[in-house]
Amino acid sequence: MSATIKHIEYFLPEKTLSNEELQLEFPDRDISKMEKKIGVFSRHIVLENETALDLAESVCTKLFESYDKNKIDFIILCTQSPDYYLPTSACLLQERLELSNNIGAFDINQGCSGFIYALTIAKGFIASGVANNVLLVMAETYSKHINPRDLGNRMIFGDGASAVVVEKTETQNIGNFVLGTNGAGSQNLIVPNGGMKCRFDSNAETIIGTRNEERTANDLYMNGSEIFYFVSRQIPGVVEQALAKNKMELEEVDFFIFHQANEYMIKSLTKKLKIGQEKYYNNIGDIGNTVSSTIPIALKRCIDTNLVKKGDKIMLCGFGVGYSWGAVIVEL
C-alpha cells in the first residue's frame, strides 16, 4: 500500500518578537550583524499560559476547515515541549479535537529531524495496514526552554506548529528514507535539567557563555559551532545517500527543502552540494527556526507561492538535536 502527503497546514502564535525589541533588551550587542547571518528578523512566541498542545490544537482546527477529521485514524505528535511527562500530548489532542476513540495516538520526542521521522512512521503504518489517514502534528515552544538572557538562541528559534495528513493512495509518492543518529553529539544541544537524571533546580547557578549569553542547567544549551560543524560534515553525505536510495541524480530533484536552521547554514550547505538558489528554500525571516515544523511550513509556503507544483520531486532533509537526521524524496 502506498502513501502520499495530502494536506498541510501551519499555525503561529499571535505574539511576535522583533529584532528591534531584542535590541532594546540588549543595547550592548550589534543585533543587525547577527540578523544578517541568521536571517531572522522576527519570530512568533507563545504566551506564558500557551503551550505546544495549544498550538497543536489550533493547527489541527485550521486543517479540519478543509479536511474531514473523521477520516483520521492515527495521530503522531512530535514535540519536545509536552504539557506533561505523562500522558502524551497526542492523547490530550485526540480528546480536544473530539476525534474517535478508535484511533491510535502517541508522541515522538524528536527535534529538527522530527517531521522526517514522523513521515517514516506514517508511511510504515499505511504500508502495513495499521492506518489509512495519519495525522502528523509537529508542535514546538523552544522559547520556554531558552533563558531570557540568551540572545543568540532567542534570535534563532521561534514557536509554531504544523499538521500534515498522510493518506493511503494508489501510487507511492513518498520515497525511500535515509535515517541516522549519532548520540555522541547529544551534549551540544540539550536541556540538561528537568528529566529524571537531573531534576529541575530552582537554585541552578547562572552560566555565562563565550558570547556573554546567560543560562542555567534548566535552560536550552546549544553549541552552535559544533552543531554547524556536524551539519557541514554529515548532511551532504546524507543527501547523496538519499539520492542513491531513490535511484536518482541530484539534477533530477526539482526542489530541496532542508531544515530551516538559519540562513547561513542553508546557504553553506547548498553551496557545498552545488544546488542553485532557484532549487532550494531559505526563508525563515519572519518565523525563525520552528524546529520540527520548519520543513512542513516551508513545504506549505512553497506550494502556496508556486515554488513547487504537482508532480515535482522534492527532497526533504531534517537534522539536529540528538544528533539525529533523516532525508526522503517525495512527489507532490
Binding site: 547571518k37 563565550t210 552552535g224 559551532s225 559544533e226 554547524f228 560543524y229 557541514s232 560534515r233 547561513y264 547554514m265 553553506s268 553551496k271
Partner: protein, 91 residues
C-alpha cells in the same frame, strides 16, 4: 614539497575560495600574516575548517579535525594563516 608547504597551500586555497564568495578583499592574496579571526566569525570558521579538512583528507589521505572545541585554542589557532598552518601541521 614538504608537508607544511602543502598545508599552507590548502589553507590559502580555502581562504581564496571563501574570499571570492564573500567578497572579502583580505583573502584575495593571503599570506602567512593574513588575519583570519579578525575577518571571519565563528560560523565562517566552521565552513573554513570543514573545507580545509576535506582538502587535507584528499591530499594526505588522513582525517583531521581542525575545529577545536576549546575556545582559547580556537582563538589562537585561527589568529592568522601562520598559526593555523602550524596547528594543522601538528595534528
Amino acid at each position: 614539497m614538504d608537508k607544511r608547504k602543502k598545508i599552507q597551500e590548502i589553507v590559502v586555497a580555502c581562504l581564496k575560495n571563501f574570499g571570492q564568495e564573500e567578497m572579502i578583499s583580505d583573502f584575495e592574496s593571503p599570506n602567512e600574516k593574513t588575519k583570519i579571526k579578525e575577518v571571519l566569525d565563528s560560523m565562517d570558521l566552521v565552513v573554513l575548517s570543514v573545507d580545509i579538512e576535506e582538502q587535507y583528507a584528499e591530499v594526505f589521505e588522513k582525517e583531521i579535525k581542525v575545529l577545536n572545541e576549546e575556545e582559547a585554542s580556537f582563538m589562537i589557532n585561527f589568529k592568522d594563516v601562520e598559526t593555523l598552518v602550524e596547528y594543522i601541521n601538528k595534528l
